[in-house]
């Protein structure tokens, strides 16, 4: 009993000491980085690459925890409620901004529940079709879609998914409502596109690049400002005549509200270092994306991105009138 008491006392003292002095020594133990999606998906892959590289720099392991569900809001709300000590972080994508409108009853306040670490990467999207689709280029595609709107099916990976957002944007741009076919995730949606069961999809390069290169689907445009090294023959949306389609699935790292500034600054510096790691640059390139600049991989960079994206998507989602709750 005495032993237990002593060790309890020791633990308490240690806990007290570590909480007062933690910013100098941070990080002193493992950090948990929550991904609000299932393991194996594109966001999970980005997280694991970044976590692995940042671990080396911080000298403590960053453990990736998948808390999937409810379009990413389950994981986000878990981190919003976590202790603000820098040992629980969140890596979330554009869904952080869109769920502020898609979900009318969120258990956290998107713009006020988090501290910011920085942006990580901005994954472009590709407008793709089944391989024997009539249209030759994006212009032809838009004409064909306008003429045959009642026959075209547009696939997406579920409400709130990147492909759903991009599809909404596409219909918003060409001013033609299409029949949309939601799937449970990108895998089944891509399977049906390969089998020619659906006609069109707009999805992240992480999912489409290999299929485009393999000739199993047709690509019309990338939604980035510049052409991609991985897909040099695919024009940008601006070149192809739909400049308003510029969109990226940006990823950022967040911490619970109240996390000390020293901690977020330290994490942000480590993130910037990680994003210059040649291994990360090479892996990102294979996925058709690049790390963000130093200026964006900062708390201020992520904050302004989140704020502007919440504002950008609000009217588009409201116009589509489809909510996730």
């Amino acid at each position: 009993m005495r032993k237990i008491l002593i060790s309890l006392a020791a633990t308490a003292t240690f806990a007290l000491a570590s909480s007062t002095a933690f910013s100098q020594g941070y990080p002193e133990r493992n950090i948990t980085m929550v991904v609000p999606f299932a393991a194996g998906g594109p966001t999970d892959t980005v997280t694991r690459l970044v976590a692995e590289t940042m671990s080396k720099d911080l000298g403590q392991q960053i453990l990736v925890e998948n808390v999937g569900g409810a379009g990413g809001t389950l994981g986000a709300s878990q981190v919003a409620k976590a202790e603000a000590d820098g040992y629980t972080l969140l890596l979330h994508h554009i869904g952080m901004a869109t769920s502020a409108t898609l979900y009318r009853k969120l258990p956290y306040d998107t713009l006020n529940a988090f501290e910011y670490v920085g942006l990580v990467t901005d994954v472009p999207m590709t407008i793709v079709s089944k391989k024997d689709f009539e249209a030759k280029d994006l212009k032809g595609l838009v004409e064909y879609v306008k003429a045959n709107a009642d026959k075209i099916s547009l696939a997406n990976a579920g409400i709130g998914a990147a492909s759903h957002l991009c599809g909404m944007l596409f219909m918003n741009e060409i001013k033609v409502p299409l029949v949309t076919v939601p799937y449970k995730g990108t895998g089944p949606a891509m399977t049906d596109l390969l089998g020619g069961q659906v006609d069109l999809m707009c999805d992240q390069t992480t999912n489409t690049t290999k299929q485009i290169k393999g000739g199993t689907i047709k690509a019309y445009a990338v939604t980035s400002a510049k052409r991609l090294d991985a897909l040099p023959d695919v024009p940008t949306v601006e070149e192809a005549g739909l400049p308003g389609m510029q969109v990226g699935i940006w990823h950022g790292i967040y911490a619970p509200k109240g996390t000390p500034t020293e901690v977020t600054e330290k994490l942000s510096a480590s993130l910037q270092k990680a994003l210059k790691d040649p291994n990360i640059i090479a892996r990102f390139a294979e996925l058709g994306t690049v790390p963000v600049t130093d200026a964006e991989a900062t708390p201020a960079g992520l904050k302004s991105k989140l704020e502007s994206e919440v504002a950008r998507w609000k009217p588009i989602i409201e116009a589509a009138g489809q909510y996730a709750d």
Partner: protein, 500 residues
């Protein structure tokens, strides 16, 4: 000849000492997590992903694949010994496997499961090696209309899962379908039956449901009547299948392998049906269908072979298209991407050593598994002799860890407790849990594909009969219905005046 060269390349890759080592690590880990109720391959692979960063891509994938099919072997162990299936496929094994164990034939049941799995694994690996590309082409012909009709076949067949009242079995299927509706409607985003609980917005957790209605309910029943369990330990007879068993298991293993291989290639949910379909077929083919549900050898041999064959052929869509057929495949694709290999339609030509190495390792892994599992049978059976007051808290602790590890969510543990009580009540009412689980698994798929097919046909229901594959499946469903109902109608007529 090209195939021969490819196989040589595959076996040289997979046979390298380092890769053999990781294959062994994988299958041992897989067996362990399969045996621990609740902990699934998905959670384990997710936990092990960081380790794979340090390995060669081939080694890490061989290990991850080993975990996956190792867990398929191990999963049947708990289903047979303690009626605790960790995944949908072993739910079927639990029906007759556990009854065999209660009759003191746990050893034979485990051996039959292992032998069936090995045979199925061998045949389906050959299929993957020889026919992967043409099989993929067939799989891509399956759109939502075809999947819907396939699910109808599955649903109709599910009646055969019951060994008691057909009406009660139908009731359980419907209850399962209803439980499957909980969650978010994928087409409109509308939450359904989630009682305002955010954790329910993606539906009930299958593992929590299965562990609850099968395992926890069984523990409650055992605690109520400890005498029943004593019989099972005292009567442990031979550990090995008898001559009669061999005779009874051969045909079911062959049929199970064929059914599992065929359904496994369909990425939209075919593998789920494999063990259920095999059970139905065996019960219908059997000369003694009344034995099913009371410890029929065919009821273990067929579904176990089907399940393992399906597990192997479900690699086909991933290997030929880079498309995941299930969450485990999605994780393996994630592991490849982290290693710098983005899987796609060209993986066989771009990474021949990886592609053929994985295929060869599947067979090597299956061989290791049977060599590992047969000697372990004696040990597993001995576990049953541990006093129950020590065994059951351990079982509950392990399943709680396992269920928690799936989503890192405490809510799922409450779900286990809740469904344990429900399972207990159902057992008291003599309602069986297997049809409930099938309904739970099929319900969401049935709805998803029905509505998607209707969206694509713009509301024209004839799409199900104008598409040839779909029509064929629907006709098959009708035939099954007739075959299933006829004997029970006849029996009803005979028994109508007999007191139950």
């Amino acid at each position: 000849m090209e195939l021969f060269n490819n196989l040589v390349l595959g076996f040289t890759t997979a046979g390298a000492p380092w890769n053999l080592f990781f294959c062994l690590v994988g299958v041992i880990l897989g067996t362990l997590i399969g045996v621990l109720p609740g902990i699934g391959a998905t959670a384990t692979i997710a936990m092990l992903l960081p380790i794979t960063f340090q390995l060669e891509p081939v080694s890490s994938l061989i290990m991850l694949a080993g975990i996956y099919y190792g867990a398929q072997y191990g999963g049947s162990t708990t289903a047979i010994l303690i009626n605790m299936p960790g995944e949908s496929s072993s739910a079927v094994t639990a029906i007759d496997g556990y009854q065999m164990a209660r009759k003191g034939r746990a050893g034979a049941a485990l051996a039959i499961a292992a032998i069936g799995s090995f045979f199925a694994g061998t045949v389906s690996t050959v299929l993957v090696a020889v026919f992967a590309p043409p099989l993929t082409a067939i799989a891509l012909k399956f759109g939502s209309a075809e999947y819907f009709s396939l699910m109808i076949v599955g649903l109709v067949s599910s009646i055969a899962l019951a060994h008691g009242s057909v009406v009660k079995a139908l009731g359980m299927v419907v209850l399962g379908l209803l439980l499957g509706l909980v969650g978010t409607d994928i087409y409109t985003g509308t939450p359904r039956f989630n009682l305002g609980i955010l954790e329910l917005s993606d539906g009930l957790n299958f593992v929590a449901l299965a562990v609850g209605v099968f395992g926890i309910a069984e523990i409650l029943r055992n605690l109520e009547n400890e005498h029943d369990r004593d019989v099972m330990i005292k009567k442990v007879t031979n550990l090995w299948p008898t001559k009669q068993d061999w005779k009874e298991m051969t045909a079911p293993i062959l049929r199970g392998t064929a059914i599992g291989s065929a359904l496994g290639i369909l990425p939209g949910g075919g593998a789920i049906l494999a063990s259920f379909a095999s059970y139905t077929v065996e019960k219908r083919m059997s000369k003694t269908p009344e034995e099913f549900g009371k410890g029929a050898v065919a009821g273990v041999a067929g579904p176990e072979s089907a399940n393992n064959a399906g597990a192997q052929t479900s690699f086909i869509p991933m290997l030929t298209l880079g498309i995941p057929a299930n969450p485990v495949m999605a994780l393996m694709i994630g592991a490849m991407i982290i290693q710098g290999i983005v899987p796609g339609p060209n993986v066989a030509t771009e990474q021949p050593a990886l592609f053929w190495g994985i295929i060869a390792s599947m067979w090597i892994g299956n061989l290791m598994l049977i060599l590992l599992n047969l000697p372990l049978i004696g040990l597993w059976v001995k576990l049953l002799t541990i006093p129950y007051y020590m065994l059951f808290p351990a079982i509950i602790a392990f399943c709680s860890i396992g269920v928690y590890s799936v989503n890192s969510n405490v809510f799922d543990l409450y779900a286990v407790a809740f469904f344990g009580l429900i399972g207990y009540v159902l057992a008291k009412l003599r309602c069986e849990p297997a049809p409930l689980l099938l309904g739970f698994v099929l319900g969401p798929l049935l709805e998803e594909h029905l509505r998607r097919a209707m969206i694509m046909s713009r509301g024209d229901a004839t799409t199900f009969v104008t598409r040839p594959i779909s029509l064929t499946l629907l006709l098959l469903a009708a035939a099954v219905l007739v075959v299933v109902l006829l004997p029970s109608i006849r029996k009803k007529r005979d028994e109508v005046f007999v007191e139950d």
